[in-house]
Symmetry: C2
Subunit: 206 residues, 2 copies
């Protein structure tokens, strides 16, 4: 099994984090961002993005699809239950991770840390990205104020989907302090056996 990644890709980290927690062996293949839109990589992923998981010559693109694949293949009912209620609870947070967290925090991170002043490469202008991120973090606080985990009474792929960008708010110019319940949840995820960080996360204030 191969995972196509880039060192500073938050979406790739979601997959790496879950593979590490599951204890699944894989080969990480670093891909240069500039090659993503080239014809060779586009065969693996028509969107020209990482991560891509290669299994027996098949390619699974999109971090959400990769998390679901790994959960179903290696996790039984633990990380993604298949009953209607349990699966819907998890899916709500996968949707939040692909909306508010990706278009909010991840876009603000690009606009702040990786492409400051270069509006052309970002989809969402910085001020709007920060407002959108705030909505996502507020929704997480409302859940986490009274629960340890996002979807169920145990960690699920909701955690794997939402952790990475919530742990990188400092690179997005967003202060996590007003979202205390999220900060405490970040520490719970960090305590899971097999947890791995990514570059940039070491700067998270304790």
């Amino acid at each position: 099994m191969k995972l196509y990644v880039a060192e500073r890709s938050g979406n790739a980290h979601k997959a790496r984090l879950f593979l590490s927690i599951l204890g699944v062996e894989y080969e990480a293949v670093d891909v240069a961002y500039l090659s993503l839109q080239g014809p060779e990589f586009r065969v693996k992923n028509p969107r020209g993005q990482i991560p891509v998981l290669e299994v027996d010559g098949r390619h699974i693109w999109d971090s959400q699809a990769i998390l679901v694949y790994l959960a179903r293949r290696y996790g039984g009912e633990d990380w993604l239950p298949t009953d209607p209620d349990g699966m819907a609870e998890v899916m709500q947070w996968l949707a939040l991770s692909e909306n508010e967290l990706l278009l909010g925090i991840a876009q603000a991170r690009i606009g702040t840390t990786f492409a400051a002043g270069n509006e052309d490469v970002i989809l969402v202008p910085l001020d709007r990205a920060k407002r959108y991120a705030a909505r996502g973090l507020r929704v997480m606080v409302e859940r986490l104020a009274a629960h340890d985990w996002l979807a169920l009474d145990r960690p699920t792929i909701a955690e794997m989907a939402c952790f990475t960008y919530a742990a990188l708010t400092h690179e997005a110019g967003i202060d996590i302090a007003p979202y205390g319940a999220v900060a405490r949840w970040l520490e719970r995820v960090r305590s899971l056996p097999g947890f791995v960080a990514m570059p940039g996360m070491e700067a998270v204030p304790a």
Copy 2:
């Protein structure tokens, strides 16, 4: 079962379309957009958005989570298989629907039809939304050029997630003509027993 909707909401239509195809009875409750951020509705959905599905007093927010819930509850393995490969294939397209189609077509639709000239209410500026939409439609074409359906060899909730905004490109100022394989797939979805349109779709050129 109640579904909170608004007449012109594409995300609400995804749920209505699938409920109709499944033949499931439900009560549609129209919600004024202005009330969505109020405290009463926020109890149903902390994001302050429609659709919300109410089942036995529980609320499922997010169209993706609602599609998954309905598929698992009423569809057996037909609309969302639970094997790792099949589920991952479907999830890829749910992700595309929440990314390129929602941030591309749906945002361009707001910027073109509902809030033209009012940049404050849109997340993605119009030119960028259109470029992002083009990527999503191109990825759909690559799949649909050689297959009848997006994820598997039959319709799944990938169709329910991706149809609505792909059928509303004219409201987003996007010409569907260059994406012929998508246009033909739209017709296949329209032929599914139980199909229902939403206002605006009647203007789709044949």
